[in-house]
C-alpha cells in the first residue's frame, strides 16, 4: 500500500506547443503539508488542474492515493477538496447559498454550512451576496467550499491570496490543525516561501514546469550553505586581499562581502589577517541564508 497521497510519474503537459509541465515526479506523503512553490507561471496551477482531472493527463502518470486518476476520476475526486486560482463562486448567491449549493452536489448535510462559515469567519457575512465580498472574503469562502466535503486531500492554490496578515495566520493555523488533528494531506501552492515555510513539512520547488527540489523542509535547509559576511572600510580591497590568500569570495554586496563558512576558528583567522593588514573590520559574522533567498537562488539559477 503506497504511503503517498499524490504521485506523478514523469508527468509532462503541453498547452499547444508550449511545455508547461516538464517530467514532473511529485511525491506527496499522506498526512503531510506539501508546500508547492514556484514563481508565477511555473506550472503550479496547471499541475493542480491535472490533479483534479480538469486537464487530461496521459495514462499512468497521475495517481491519487495509489489509483490512476483517469481510470478512477470520481473515486479520486471524492477524496479531494480544492481551491483553484480565484475561488469559483456564484456571485448572485450569498455565501451561505454557495455553500448550500455545494452541499447539494456533494450530498453533504446542510448543517455543515454554519460550521464552515464560522470556521472561516464569514458568519456575519453569510447572507451577503458573494459578488459583493472582498477578495479576502471570497478566498475564505473558497476555502470553506474546499473543506466542506471533509476530503482526505486538500489542494489549495495560493489560499492566502488577498488575505490580510491576520487572515494569513488564521489559514496557516487552520492548515496545521487539519493536518495534525484530522490527518489531512494538504498540498498548498504559493510563490512565497516564507508564507508556508512555517507550516509545510515537505516542499517541492517548481520552475518553468520542472521540479527543481523535492524533500522535507529540513532537507531544504541542508542546501542552505552558511557564509561568513564581512563589512570593512574598503570592500573591493578586502575582496582582492582575501582572494590573493586563496579564499573564495562568493558574493560582493553593497556593503559586505561573503565567503563560504568553514569554521569559527577560520573566521577568527580571517578577522586577524584583515586587521593585521590595515583593514578596519566593522563586522564579521556567520550568516545562514533565509529560505526565501534560497528559494530565489534555486529558481534563478535554473
Amino acid at each position: 500500500m503506497s504511503n503517498l497521497a499524490i504521485e506523478t510519474c514523469g508527468l509532462t503537459y503541453h498547452f499547444g506547443n508550449q511545455k508547461v509541465v516538464d517530467d514532473l515526479s511529485l511525491k506527496v506523503p499522506k498526512g503531510s503539508i506539501y508546500g508547492f512553490l514556484g514563481p508565477n507561471g511555473a506550472g503550479k496551477t496547471t499541475t493542480i488542474k491535472i490533479l483534479l482531472n480538469l486537464l487530461k493527463s496521459p495514462y499512468d502518470t497521475v495517481f491519487i492515493f495509489g489509483k490512476e486518476i483517469n481510470a478512477n476520476r470520481i473515486a479520486s475526486l471524492k477524496k479531494i477538496g480544492a481551491l483553484v486560482e480565484q475561488p469559483a463562486i456564484y456571485a448572485h448567491l450569498t455565501g451561505k447559498e454557495n455553500l448550500i449549493n455545494r452541499c447539494i452536489l456533494l450530498g453533504v448535510t446542510r448543517e455543515k454550512v454554519k460550521d464552515m462559515l464560522s470556521l472561516v469567519g464569514l458568519t456575519d457575512a453569510a447572507d451577503k451576496k458573494a459578488g459583493n465580498y472582498s477578495l479576502g472574503m471570497k478566498q475564505r469562502l473558497g476555502i470553506a467550499l474546499a473543506l466542506l466535503a471533509d476530503a482526505e486531500l486538500l489542494l489549495l492554490d495560493e489560499p492566502t491570496n488577498g488575505l490580510d496578515p491576520n487572515g494569513i495566520i488564521e489559514i496557516r493555523n487552520l492548515m496545521s490543525e487539519l493536518s495534525l488533528k484530522h490527518n489531512k494531506t494538504i498540498l498548498v501552492s504559493s510563490h512565497l516561501l516564507h508564507e508556508i515555510e512555517k507550516v509545510a513539512t515537505h516542499v517541492g520547488i517548481l520552475n518553468k514546469g520542472k521540479l527543481l527540489f523535492q524533500g522535507t523542509i529540513n532537507e531544504l535547509q541542508t542546501f542552505n550553505t552558511p557564509v561568513v559576511e564581512i563589512q570593512t572600510d574598503n570592500r573591493e580591497a578586502t575582496a582582492a586581499f582575501l582572494s590573493s590568500l586563496g579564499y573564495v569570495v562568493s558574493n560582493i554586496n553593497e556593503d559586505t562581502i561573503q565567503l563560504p563558512f568553514q569554521s569559527t576558528a577560520e573566521t577568527g583567522k580571517i578577522n586577524t589577517l584583515l586587521i593585521q593588514h590595515g583593514f578596519t573590520v566593522y563586522s564579521i559574522h556567520f550568516v545562514k541564508k533565509d529560505l526565501e533567498r534560497l528559494f530565489l537562488d534555486i529558481t534563478k539559477t535554473n
Binding site: 498547452f15 488542474k49 483534479l52 482531472n53 480538469l54 486537464l55 487530461k56 470520481i74 473515486a75 475526486l77 471524492k78 479531494i80 480544492a82 483553484v84 486560482e85 480565484q86 469559483a88 463562486i89 456564484y90 456571485a91 448572485h92 448567491l93 447559498e97 448550500i100 449549493n101 447539494i104 452536489l105 456533494l106 450530498g107 467550499l145
Partner: protein
Amino acid sequence: MHALLISLQSEFYKSRKTLAFWASILLPLCLCSLVTAAFYFKSEKILAQLYSPPVLWMNYIGSILGIMGSLILPFYVIFMAFSVNNIEHKNDTWKSLFAQPLNKFSIYAAKYIYAVLLIFICLFLFFALSLAFGNLLHILNNGYKFNDYSPLDFLSRIYTRLFLSSLGILSVQFIISLIWSDFLKPMGIGFIGLIAGIIAVTRGWEYACFIPYSHATMVISARKEGVAGQIFTQEIYASLIYAAVLFLAGYFIVIKKSVK
C-alpha cells in the same frame, strides 16, 4: 441517476434567482394578463362581432399564440440557453463543477434537462393561464361565452407541438452557449437564425424544416392553416432529430473540454 438528480437540484437552486428562471413564469403571466385585459376592456367591440364560442376562443388564444409562438418563445429559448451556461462562464465555475465527484454526463445532462424544464414550465403556464384567464373573462363579463366550448384539446396539442418544436433551437443554442462565453455570439447567431427561419416559413421554402429556428413558426402557421390536429409532423420530427444529435454532440464537447 443519483448524480443526475443532485445536479438537477443544484441547477434549480443556483438559477432560482436568475432572470431565465423568472422569465419562464413572468412571460406567460404578463402576456396572458395583457391579452385578457385587452379582451376585458374592449369587450363591447369584440362582443359586437357575435363570435361563436369556438371562434371566440380561437381569437383569444390566437392573440397570445401569435406573439408568443413566433417571437417570444424562440427569443426566450435563445436567452435561456445562454443564461444556463453563462452562469458558469461568468463566475468561472466550470472548474469547480467538473472537480466535483460527479460524472460529466450528469453535470451536462442536468443543465440540458433544466433548460428543457424551463421551456416546459413556460409553455405549461401559457396553456394553463390561457385556459384560466379565458374562463375568468367569462366570469367578469357574462357576454363572453367562453364556457360554451372547451379548447382543452386544441390548446394541449398546440402547446405540445410548440414544446417539441422548441427543442431543436434549444439544442443549437445550448451548444453555442456552451462553447462561447460571450453574449454576442449566441444572441447574434440566434437572432439571425430566427429571422432566417421566419423568412423561410413565410416565403414557403420547402426545406424550411431543416432550419431549427423555423420550427416554432411552422407550428404557428400550421395552426392558421387548420392542420394542427397532428402532433408529429415533419418539423416536429426534424426538431427532435436536431435535439437528439446536438445533445450527444454537446456531451462530446463537454468530455473533451479542458478547463484551462
